[in-house]
Amino acid sequence: MAEHFVLNRQSYCKILLHVFKYPHLSVNGLLLVQRQKGKDGKTFHIVDTVPLFHSTLGLTPMLEIALSQVDAYCRSRNLAIAGYYQANENYKDHSPNLIACRIIEKISENIGSDALLLMVENDKLASNVENACFTAYTVQDGKAKKVEGEKVQVQGNGTAGQIASALLCAKEHWQLVDFDSHLDDISLDWTNAHISVKISNAV
């Protein structure tokens, strides 16, 4: 299990866009990494996210389809699924529920190691401290355990928040496509290449 996670600006922005697109619903998605080949190999760089669902999160068939396709996509890009984020429906509720634990266990099974569970704290999204709205957990035996210490950082020294704000003001969150939207209209791109371009231009 990695000890540090760094969210790049693209991942941070996409998570926020997903949460802001569906403020009244729970949303979830996958975290994709390229493993840092550093001295200790214990830092995971989350380089992209795939927003998954915004309606009933607790049903498995479409989750299985999504995991399978994202897995295939990752292999073609030298990426790997390393974790999962979830933002609960209720403004004040950021505890990992049964659904999050089950999904993490499924992902951990698929990837053969402990997946990271990132819960989004809705009431801290407006904070100037970018990583204030994330809490990291691991799941063992169906129970979520908080990862202590500052394990999740956001790349960019504050610029990620600025880029996210700019995107939100430009209503880019309406253009974000999650797997749910893709299932409604398969011409929509769940890799959100159009959004990634806007984020890299803003950097």
């Binding site: 049903l59 068939p61 479409m62 209720n90 893709h182």
Partner: protein
């Protein structure tokens, strides 16, 4: 022609007719597009409400609810004032005042408003639903389930309520009761492909051979009712592959399920091919790989 809600920049120039059409569409589809409704109100309607004729009252109500959703108390207050002036004794307007209290977190004040509405109108279903919504907002899910159960016994044809109850049960991992809710809906709406698909999703999630076969049957029915239901098509593929790859599955049953899975896979493949362009070829590859890997598992 109504402007697409994706054309944000065009909203500054949106005409009154287009604006009205969009709001009508949101009402008809029962969509919660609160941010967009507030934008439309600010960009277009605010100064032109008097041009809407009798439609303005329902628009005020729609904008009010959207404004409460977006914490725009200023707009909500304006709408409520206009509605109160026109309909001074209306319980529908008082419900909005209750919702205003809810949006400010004053749940006890909201409760009082709803009590007073129910005193004058025992059968008011809207107020009962607001009480259940408050329980959800306060994260009292078991209580919300109890209240909602009482509600659906009285208002059995309220499909929204059954779907809400289903969602609550799923959030509590009670898939059996969630399935029961959809069964109730299927009894009165046997031709609704979305209900068949939702039922299949729940049964598949429960797992076990019997449930997955039941899921497969309902996915098939959903596809028969609407061949554009991609979820149902994927579900049919997944459930048939699962049945075929089960260790105890052999002989004709295995052959049949492999056939169903392959048919669904082809249908899915065809749909993606029609959509293919240089932007989504990576998705096409992902779909192909997925179909291959799951099919291999079922054949072996």
């Amino acid at each position: 022609m109504a402007a697409s809600s994706n054309d944000f920049n065009s909203w500054k120039e949106i005409g009154l007719d287009d604006c009205r059409a969009m709001l009508r569409k949101f009402r008809d589809d029962n969509e919660r597009r609160s941010e967009e409704i507030v934008e439309l109100y600010e960009e277009c309607l605010d100064s032109k409400m008097h041009k809407l004729g009798n439609e303005k009252w329902i628009v005020y109500e729609q904008v009010c609810i959207a404004a409460l959703d977006c914490a725009r108390q200023d707009i909500a207050q304006k709408c409520i004032a206009a509605l109160r002036h026109q309909f001074p004794d209306s319980s529908r307007v008082r419900k909005l005042i209750g919702m205003q209290h809810e949006s400010l977190g004053s749940f006890e004040k909201a409760e009082k408003v709803y009590d007073s509405i129910q005193q004058t109108d025992e059968s008011n279903s809207h107020v009962r639903k607001r009480r259940i919504a408050m329980l959800r907002a306060l994260r009292k899910v078991p209580e919300a389930i109890v209240e909602l159960n009482t509600y659906v016994k009285q208002f059995m044809s309220d499909y929204e309520a059954w779907l809400e109850l289903c969602d609550l049960y799923i959030s509590e991992n009670d898939y059996t009761k969630a399935a029961y809710c959809i069964e109730e809906l299927l009894l009165s709406n046997p031709h609704n492909h979305l209900y068949h698909q939702r039922y299949a999703d729940i049964r598949y999630t429960q797992g076990g051979m019997e449930n997955i076969e039941l899921a497969r049957a309902h996915y098939a029915q959903a596809v028969a009712l609407n061949s554009n239901n991609v979820r149902a098509m994927y579900g049919l593929f997944l459930s048939a592959s699962n049945v075929a790859s089960a260790p105890k599955c052999a002989g004709q049953k295995k052959k049949d399920n492999i056939k169903y899975a392959m048919w669904a896979a082809n249908q899915i493949h065809e749909r993606y091919q029609k959509m293919m362009n240089k932007d989504n070829d990576k998705q096409m590859k992902a779909v192909e790989e997925m179909l291959e890997s799951l099919q291999l598992a079922s054949v072996n």
